[in-house]
Structures are given as C-alpha cells and as structure tokens.
Symmetry: C2
Subunit: 753 residues, 2 copies
C-alpha cells in the first residue's frame, strides 16, 4: 500500500472535477451549433439542399419543435418531482421515526455494536444522518435525471441540423451530448457522496460503522427517485409511442413522426423522460448503492478497525479512476478515430466498450496494488473472518468489469440484426405474427443463459475471494465504465429525437436517412439495459449481504419455512410488478389513443396539414396518465420490504430479497432482449439490406406487418417492465438494509413466538 | 392410534382393487356404445337427423377415423417407448454404477447410517433395489400413459355417436372415459408401489431407511418417463395443431378438423398423446414422488425407529382414501346429478372439485386421527427433532388439499370467459394483435399472485407443524383427489376429439354444436394444469427436503457462494428449458407445414374432396420431429443434476434445486394461464354470447383475427413449455435425491479444497 490520505483527498474530488469540466467542454462544443438563428457557418461542409426551404426557416422550425419537446419534458419532470417531493418528505419521516425508535428515541450516546466499550452516536443522531443522506441521494438522483433530459433536449435539434452537413458531424454532436450526461452524472454522484462522507465524518469521528450505515440512506434516496423515474418515464414513453403509432400509422396511415399526429411531440418527450432521465436515475442508483454496499461491508472489515482511510475509500478510487478512463475512451471516438461514414458508427460504439474495459483493467490493477494493504480481513457475521490479499480484489473488480463486457456482447448478439437470432425471428414473420411472437419469446429466454453464467462466475469468484466485499467491488467494477456506458445509452434517444425533428421540420429525405443511420445500431439501448441489469444483480447481492450482516442473521437457510416462503413469494414479485407496469402502459396508451382520435375527428384541416394539432393536450394526457399509473407499482416496491420486515421478520425478508433477485434478473434480461430483437427484426425487414431481408419486405408486406406487431408487443417489455425490474431488486435490497436495525429489533410480529 | 397392521394390509390393496374395478365398470358402460356396426338401439332418444346419411355409414366412418387416430397414437407411443427403453436401460446402469460406487462396489453388509451398531444391506444391494424400483416406476408410468391413450381413443368416436342423442348422453360417455383413466392410474400407481414395498421389505427387514431410500427410485422412474411423455407429447400435439391451422385455416381457408387437411388426424392424435398420455404420466409422477418423499422423511422419524408400520403407511392410506372419495364424487356426476343440458356441464365439473375436496377433508381427519400415534417426532438433519401431534398432520394434508382448490378456482377466474380478465383480453383485440398479446402476458403474470400465496401459506403451515414431512403430506393432500382431477382433465381432450370426428365424418351442424358445448368449459385443461403445477411445487420442495437430509447438508445458506450461484443458475434453467421446447414446437410445426403444403400442391383433387390426403405421412412427420426434438430439453433436465452434483457438489445442487423450483413455478403458472386466457378470449368472440362479445365478432373480424394470433402463441406456452416445467422441477429434485449418497461421497470435484 503506497497511497496516502492526502492522495485520496486530492484524487477523488479532482477526478470528479475533471469529469465535470470535460462534460462542460463537450456541452460547449455542442452549443457551437446554433438553433433558431443562423449563426452556423458551413465550415466548408456541403449542406444538403433543403428542397427550396431556406436555412433560416428550417432552423426556426427546428427551434420551435425543440422548444416544444423541451417544454413537454420539463413539464413532466417538474410535475413528477412535485409528487416525488411529497413522497420523499413522507418517507423521510418514516425513515427517521423507524430508525430512531430502535433506540427508543433517545438522545443519549449508546455503546457501539462492534465494541461495547466505546460510545457511539445516539439513535436519534443515526436516524437523522440516515435521513439526511436519503434526501441528498434523492436530490442528486433528481439532478442527474434532470440534467440528462436538459442536455438531450438541447442536443436533439442540433444533431438534426448537423445531419445536413454529414453523418460524421451529426454523430459527433449526438455522442458528445451523450458524454455530457455520462460524465456529469458519474462525477456528480461521486463528488456529492465524497463530500457527504467528509461532512458526516466530522460528527461520527471514529465510529466508521455508524457513519457508513448512515451513508446507505444515500443509496436508498437515489434508488427511490430512480424507481419513479424509470416506472413513470417508462409508462410515459411507451404510452405515447404506442398511442401515436396505433392511431397515426395504423388508422390514419401517416408516417412515423409526422407533424400532423397530435401525439408526436409526446412521443419525442417520452424518449427524453424515459430513456434518458429514467436510465440516468437508474444507473446513478446502481452506482450509489454499490458504493454504499462496499463501504458498509468494509467498515466492519479490518480497514474500519485499523482506521485505514485510504483503503476505506477504495470504492471511490475505482469510480474516480473510471471517470479518467472513460474520458480517454471518449476522446478516441470524438477526436482520435472520429466517425466519417455510416459504416463506422457501429464499430466506433463497440470499440468504446472494449477500450474502456481494457484501460479500466489496468487502472484497477494499479489501484488495488497501491491503494489497498497487502493483506487485510473481511468480517462476516456468524462466520470466520476472511483474510484477503490485495490482488484478490483486483480479480473481484475485474470479474465484474469483464462480466459486463460479456453481457454487452451477448446482448448485441441476440438483439442485432447482423446475427442469426434476430434474422431467424424476422424469418418467422413469414408464417405470421404468432410465430414471430413465439420465436421472439424463445429468443429472450435463450438470451438469459450466458449472462447468468457470466454473473454466476463473477459472483463465485468474488464471493470466494473476498466474501460480500468482493461482490460489492465486482458491482463497482461493472459500473466503473459508467460514463461511457451512459454516453452510448443517451446517444440513442438523442439520435432518435433528431430523426423525429427532421421529419417534423419537413427536411429532405437525405437528412432523414442520415439520422436513421445514426440510430441503425439499435443495439446500444439493449446493451445499456444489459449492463444495467447485470450491475443491478451484483449490487443487489452486495446489498443483500450487507443487509444480512446488519440484521444479524447468521444464515439464510432456505430449507427453513420462513426463508423458503420468502424465497417463493420474492420470486413471484417481479411477475406481479411486470403485470402492473404492462397493464399501466396499456391503459395510458388507450387514453392517448382516444385523445388522438378525438383531435383527428374534431379539428378541421388537421389531416390536410392546414391546422396544427393540440400537441400540449397529448403531452398533458401522457403526463397525467403515467404519473397516476406509476403509483401502484411504486407502492408495491416501496412497501413490500417494510410490510414483510415488520410482520414476518428479518429471515423471511432475506428469503424474499434472494427470490426477487434470482427471478427478477431472468425476466429483466429476457424481456429487454425479446423487445430489442423484435425491434431490430422489424428494422431488418424495413432496411432490406440482404437478399433474405428483401424476400421478407418491403414495408407493408405481410411479413412486415407481423414484424410490426412483435415490435409493438416488445415496446413495454423492453422499455417499461423489463428495465424497471432492475430497480425493484435493488431498491428492495437497499431499503431492507436501511431499515435492518428496526426489523431486527421490532420486526416479525406475525412469525414470532 | 387405532388402526392396526392388518387393516393397512387389507385397506390399501382393497381400495386399489375397488378403484380398478370401478374403472373397468365405467369402461364397460362406455363400451355399450358400439362403433363400426349398428348395435346401438335408440333407447327412446331422439337421434339427430344426419342429413340423409344413414346410420350405418356414419358409424362406419366414425370407426374408420377412430381407427386412424388410435393407430397414429399407438405408433407414436410405441416409437417413443422404444427410445425410452434404450434410455431407461442406460440410466439404470448409471444409477446402479453410481450408487454401488459409494460403497466401493462391496457385497459386504455395512453399518447403518442411522445406527452404527446395526448392519444394513451392502451398497451393491441398495443400488440394485434402487435400480429395480426405478424400472418399476418407469413401467408403471408407461402403462398409465398408454392406458390413458387407449381409453381416450376408444371413447372419442363413442362420444361423437352419443352426441346425436343429446348432450347429456355425450357428456356421460366422455366423463366416464375420463374416470376410467383417472381411477386406473391412481389405483395402479398405489398398488404397484405398495406391493414393491412389501416385496423389498422381505429383503431389507428392519432397515426402513434403506428400504425407503431404494423406493425413491420408483419416483425417479415415473418422472423420467413423464418428462419425455410431456415434452415429446407436448411438441407433437402443438406441432400438429399449429401446422394444421397455419396451412388449413390460414392458407387454404378450410375449417378446423376438415377431413381434407392432411394434418387433421395428426392433430387429433396429438390430443391423445400430449394432453392425455403426457398429463397422465406427469400426475402419476407427482403421486409417486410425493409418496416417496413422505416415506423417506418418515423413515428417519420416530415411526421408523418405533417400527410403526401403520404410521409409516400413512401416505398410502391417504391415497387409498382418496380413491374411495373420488369414487363417490364421480357417482354424483354420472348418476346422482347427471347432466341434462348444456348449461349444466360447467357447474357439474366444478362441483366435482368442491365435493371431492370436502369429502376428502373428512377422510383426512379420520385417517390422521386413527392412523397416526397421538404424538411422534420428525427428525431433521442438523436440527432439533420436531415433536408433532396427529392433528397437526390433519392441518398439513388439509392445507395442501385446500390450496389445490384455491388454485383451481383462481385458474378458472383467470382463464374462463365468464369473468372480466379474459373479457378484457378479448376487448384488447379491438386495437389489434399487439395489445392482445400485451394484455395476455400481463394477465398470466398477474394470475401467479394468488396461487403463489396459497402455496406459500400451505408450505409455511405444514413446514412449521411437521417440517419436511408436513410438506410431503401436503403435496399428497393436493394429489389425493387425483382420480377426479384426472377424470376432468381427460374429459377435455376426449370431447375435443369427438368434435373433430363429428366434423370429419360430415355429421350435421347440430351434432357439432353439441360436441362444441362439451368443450365449452375449456378451463378444465387450465385447472388441471394449475393442480399439476401446484402439486409439483409442493412435491419438489418435499423431495428437496429429503435430498438435503440424505445428502447430509445442515443448511442451504444462500449467502454462501456455492449455494447462491446454484440458486441463480437454477432460476435460469426454466428459461433455458422453455426456450428449447418453444423452439422445438416451432421447428416441428414448420416441418408439418411443409408436408401439408406439399400434399395440397401435389395430390390432385385433394382440395375438391375427391381424393384422400396422406394422413399417415403427417402422423409420421409429427412423430419423428417430436421424438428428435424432445432429446435436447430432456437431456438438459436429466443431466443437470448429475453434472452439477458431480462437479460442484451437494451445496450448489441444493441451491440449484431451490432456484429452479421458485422460478419454474411462476413461469409454469403464467404460461399456462396466459395460453388458456387467449384460447378462451378467442372462443368468447366466436361464441358471441353477449352484446360485448358480439361487438368484437363475428369470426373473421379484425378483432377475431387478433384473437386467433394470441391463441396460436398460447398453444406452445400452455401445452408444451408451461406444463413441462412441472417435470423439470420435480425430476431434478427426485434425481438429486436418488443420487444424493453418490454426490455426498464423491461430488464437488471443481469446488473442492
């Protein structure tokens, strides 16, 4: 161990600052493209002829559409944040009261759990700090989602405008904007967490166990916001999408993104609030939770006992190094090997994953070598302490990191139309929608196999080497390239929006083709989801381990009735939750369909394009419906741990968490890949790039119609129910962890005696 | 405790004999309807006018069709049994070698596990008896499936002919035939098992532990045959069904069951080999396994130590009483309150479930009271012995029984078109196939909630009262009304076949309407599947408990790496398996589609009805394809426990079983209910019995087309992948139990050290 405290105190905030500065630089570069007025010089690029439309008017039109999308997104998020503020207020009270009740609301300092001769903060103080951490986590998560939405709605029209100059230019704008979101989010999360630790430390002093237990509130706060962001945003985006398609494409026979469709703005808003803000909040939650899990576990290790601040901060060092690694990786895409043509887009994005993983492996090696003592011990409740060497930790973090890459590539294999699985699904459209659905479902089920093995190997390796600490840092390893992952993720919806704006602004076919080319590698979203689920699995397991430790459970023995009942009911929860979210999308979409039909019926001249539809009303309907519909599934997730822990006790809750985890991972992966495969099977037929694809097309053929049905079914699976499951498993685990002292002291009313 | 040994020695075989006699009586009553020659007197019933076709020729035509179906079914089963014979031979060798290797292939008697001062049979002897039990189980299961198929193909044309006299007459034939199968199977299974125990006892003497461990081979044999029966039969039936529909209904526009369709006989064969033989083998497997699990657990309880033969036979007493109770219940349907009109069919079937459950509750009370000591102890490896009272056991068995009834009614609620869930799904067809699929999937997910809670409550109650013995007898409780359940199950496909024969024989519309009325309550199949899954869950848990006990594992602690990795991989297996079976159906259906197309193309006069199609070739194609396709999923199930146990050891295998169980139950229930709901949503629209239904129809409307797509997707879900999952979870558990001594002694090569 070489690194000292000063290094940590400088390196962590400096990395965060570099990340934020880098994000702002990218933002500045994006802002160089102006929307609304014609500041843009052509810089020697050929600008595509706009079929007689002059530059200024196109620019103005783009600005107008962008403003509408931005306004709608902002309206949704601010309304949602109002709801969230109320919820957060209530939940803060619950956290405070429950945790303070453990020590009888006493202001007296109490003997420490880990050492009865020392005195630790009073229960009121612990409860207070947990609550504060909760609020900070919630605020940071909110900020992450909001900033992501902001930059995305800032970049979409700019990407469209740049597409007139060439696909490389447009790619640069979309990708840079993605990077703004990725780096802001990663750096912000790290910085706030680090500062919170430093401030809390002023009060907690040497009570590291108490300090890091309070810090877990940060993870809970982040994840709670993510829950509603993912679910609300997911319902919004799919309700608008399905609603717009069902009336526009099917009934009125107008193309996608046609400005005559009243739901078209709502559809584009959906991309920003669902795929951007929701995804951002989700991954921020994973980051916060895995860091908290690692910190809690290490606080009861020898680091904690030895007061080894540098080693304690190991999780933060990984994330700091991750920001720098991702920065280098981004430069490869934007400056060193920038995209010149359509064919380079997909390899460039894939290269990002590989480069960041390879570089990160080196970084992890260095940090493990220099930032950890050569040998240390991890303490596990009810078991012998585990002696760990620093190179063990390298393998733990590395296994998570590389498992992530494997999951990414498997996801690509199963959802990209360059490989046989999606082509088989497309081929099955020949015999109609039914076979398409059967083959798609089978594909999703099959796609679970390798990722689960990858996760299992990472778990076994890290678990064997460093117990629960190993799992927590493996999760951090998978998330260490977060900034790059998020950049790629955000790139997708931004390009998608850019295409929508091109269509709505009436730009030429050529521009539309270029924006389509940007979204062609439509596996980016699926890969991002793969990462999100894989990391959620590891994070939840780490949190589960921390919970078990904190609740003082010696073993989670599933041949005991309490545990087994928890296990089987836990495995059922993802189904219950999915049923709710899928039904919600259906209901919200129906509300949208009715409104769109009403507008086509009652607004004269709408179909002819002489009158404008009432976009705002559609935005409002989507907003209201999705906010109303997000409450029941949200309540299911938030209340289950509280009810089970209070009524049935810590053992049943432990079984429940394990069941939800192992069952949820499978549904989440299969739902997301099935949806992705249907989406790309449809695109495969539409693009008609091969002889085989041509034999299935063209657009409007029977096979294509069957493919469209699959795509529509896949929408809620891949964008609402599937990704929300990540949060279900993570959030229940972190909530259980935070409330563990209460459940251990007062839980299990029904199963007692 | 009142009952003595003599009572048991008389009561069990007598009940079995009564069951067999009853079945034969029913068979005799069915045989009174003749097919092929005109022996039938009209008995004063109005016979429907056959549009100028004379009775003799209709009768001859029915006989011809019946012969074709029977021949096809027999061909499939005998070919499958040939495959199975080879497999059974190989697997017998594996069982013998693996188990004999534990004691180093020694012929010397060895000290007993439970009492080192006593001597027990040599490892060679134990291995030999296990292998013999395995072969007996396999043979009994084969016989059960075969007899079921025989009676079903015997009864179908008879049901058709009776339908000319009235719906009540037809119902009686179909229901009596179902009863033949139900009683033969339940009584046969019981009798063979009881005799095997008595014979084995001659050798084992007082070594009850060794005796009942050897008996577990019976469960493994039964379940192995069931696996291939369910999977092979499931692929067969759906390949033929989907293949026939895709070309016949969709491409050639001819009605269902039209004799011009070359796949029509294969389709009807499918009902017999899949829904009848497969289901029979499956439920026989559950019966055999739960009895074995209860016996193994009780052999290490105080019954075993006290050599209390009557108490040891408690599981057999329940099954014996079950046969008598079901007999009384059947009389209610056939004689006391027989069906007179269409409206009485559904209530009659439902009443069967309620009556048998209520009567059985009384029977269980009596047997628990008189057949068990007032207090006894259940021993659990690694835990304190559990003191149990006889009335505790009443609650255990009863909880399983009533959980079964609840599952049955919930299944009905979610799959019958008399209630809102299916009506909502039908309504969603308005907006197309996509919304139909989304709503159907959501319905299936939602339908999991209550059954899982019912199972969880039964598990918690029985587990708490009597540990693993409680679970085993709860499973027996659910299965105690097996004969009635099977009768209702078999009734469905028999009526379905009857309808097909009516269509093919060119009978009048009125006859077809009557046979349709018989199959109208199409929730019987779904309810049967609900029972099968629920009992599979309990059985697997009981077997899991017995395995853990026999493998000498003190706890299955899922926060240990070995166990957790097993858990998450186990939870993945049902997905892998479902992907395989669904893909298999797709492939086999495709082979069928090509053949049917070929025949329509190359056989002149086929479409005009002047030439006959080559039915046999279609039967052969379905047979070959399904037998080939059943091997990979079968291998996955059979090999996984062997590989995991050998390479990764008993703890990982324990985790794997728990994971597969809790995850498989959910997919199985949701797949089967989703499929059932789509099926009945389609029928709801076709029947047009309400204003709402009429607004969606008629046949051929857009909404109806959307409903047909859902129905086709649901076919492999509800008839292949869903029900096969029962066997996946049960079989892996019983296989682990049989091989437990080997794994405990020699397993875990990779995870050692």
């Amino acid at each position: 161990m070489v690194l000292g405290t000063t290094f940590v105190l400088v390196f962590v905030p400096a990395s965060a600052a570099v990340g934020i500065l880098f994000a702002l630089t990218q933002w500045y570069l994006v802002s160089y493209v102006t929307v609304g007025k014609s500041r843009v010089s052509n810089n020697g690029y050929m600008q595509v002829d706009e079929d007689g439309i002059d530059d200024a008017s196109v620019n103005a039109k783009c600005a107008e559409i962008q403003a509408a999308i931005s306004e709608g997104s902002e309206a949704f998020l601010t309304t949602m944040y109002t709801y969230l503020a109320i919820f957060m207020g209530l939940f803060s009270v619950i956290i405070f009261v429950f945790l303070a009740s453990v020590g009888g609301f006493s202001f007296d300092r109490q003997p420490c759990d880990y050492d009865q001769t020392k005195s630790c903060p009073s229960s009121i103080a612990s409860a207070f700090f947990s609550t504060v951490a909760f609020i900070l986590g919630a605020l940071t998560s909110t900020l992450s989602g909001y900033l992501g939405m902001k930059i995305a709605t800032y970049a979409n029209a700019r990407t469209t405008l740049e597409a007139r100059k060439g696909v490389g230019k447009a790619f640069a704008i979309a990708f840079r904007s993605g990077a703004v979101m990725g780096f802001l989010l990663a750096a912000n999360g790290l910085l706030v967490l680090f500062l919170t630790i430093l401030v809390f430390k002023l009060y907690f002093g040497d009570d590291w166990v108490g300090l890091y237990e309070a810090i877990t509130g940060y993870g809970l706060g982040g994840s709670s916001v993510a829950l509603f962001g993912r679910v609300g945003g997911g319902i919004y985006t799919k309700a608008a999408d399905v609603g717009a398609d069902l009336v526009g494409k099917v009934e009125q026979n107008i193309p996608e993104d046609d400005p005559r469709n009243p739901a078209v703005i709502a559809d584009n808003v959906g991309d920003n609030v669902g795929d951007i803000a929701g995804m951002g909040a989700d991954l921020f939650g994973s980051f916060a939770e895995s860091t908290c899990a690692a910190l809690v576990v290490s606080s009861i290790s020898s680091f904690g006992n030895d007061k080894n601040f540098v080693a304690m901060c190991f999780p933060l060092l990984i994330s700091s190094a991750g920001i720098l690694v991702c920065l280098l990786t981004t430069l490869v895409a934007t400056d060193i090997m920038s995209v010149k043509g359509v064919k380079e887009i997909e390899p460039t994005l894939k290269r990002q994953l590989v480069i960041s993983t390879v570089l990160m492996t080196v970084a992890i090696f260095l940090i493990s070598w220099f930032g950890l003592p050569e040998t240390f011990t991890i303490n596990v409740v009810g078991h012998e302490a585990k002696v760990v060497k620093n190179w063990h930790i390298f393998f733990c973090v590395g296994s998570g990191l590389w498992a992530g890459l494997i999951i990414g590539f498997v996801t690509e294999y199963f959802t990209s139309n360059a490989y046989t699985p999606v082509q088989d699904v497309a081929d099955s459209c020949r015999t109609g929608a039914a076979t398409n659905i059967i083959f798609g479902l089978a594909l999703g089920y099959k796609s679970v196999i390798v990722p689960v093995f990858a996760i299992a190997v990472a778990i076994y390796l890290s678990f064997s080497l460093a117990a629960m600490y190993g799992i927590a840092v493996a999760a951090l390893g998978m998330l260490s390239t977060l900034a790059t992952g998020l950049a790629i993720d955000a790139y997708g919806p931004i390009s998608d929006n850019a295409g929508g704006i091109a269509e709505m602004a009436g730009m030429s076919h050529e521009v539309r083709e270029r924006t389509d080319a940007l979204t062609r590698p439509d596996t980016t979203a699926a890969i991002g989801k793969g990462f999100a689920i894989g990391s959620a699995a590891l994070v939840s397991l780490a949190l589960f381990g921390a919970y078990v430790s904190r609740a003082g459970i010696a073993s989670v023995d599933v041949i005991q009735p309490k545990e087994f009942v928890g296990l089987i009911v836990g495995a059922m929860l993802p189904y219950w939750f999915s049923a709710m979210t899928m039904k919600s999308v259906g209901k919200a979409a129906l509300a949208m369909v009715e409104e769109v039909r009403r507008q086509f019926r009652t607004i004269p001249g709408l179909m002819e394009g002489t009158t404008k539809p009432d976009y705002k009303r559609c935005v409002k309907i989507s907003t209201d419906a999705s906010l109303k519909e997000m409450i029941p599934p949200g309540a299911l997730v938030m209340l289950t741990p509280l009810i089970v822990g209070t009524l049935f006790g810590v053992e049943t809750l432990a079984g429940l968490l394990a069941g939800a985890l192992v069952s949820g991972v499978q549904i989440a992966i299969s739902a997301s890949n099935t949806g992705g495969a249907w989406d790309n099977a449809k695109k495969y037929i539409e693009a008609g790039a091969s002889e085989h694809a041509k034999s299935l097309g063209p657009k409007g053929s029977d096979a294509h119609k069957a493919a469209v049905i699959g795509d529509t079914v896949g929408d809620p699976l891949k964008d609402t129910s599937g990704p929300s499951l990540n949060i279900l498993i993570k959030l229940m685990a972190v909530e259980s962890l935070v409330f563990a002292p209460f459940f251990a002291a007062n839980g299990g009313w029904l199963f007692r005696g």
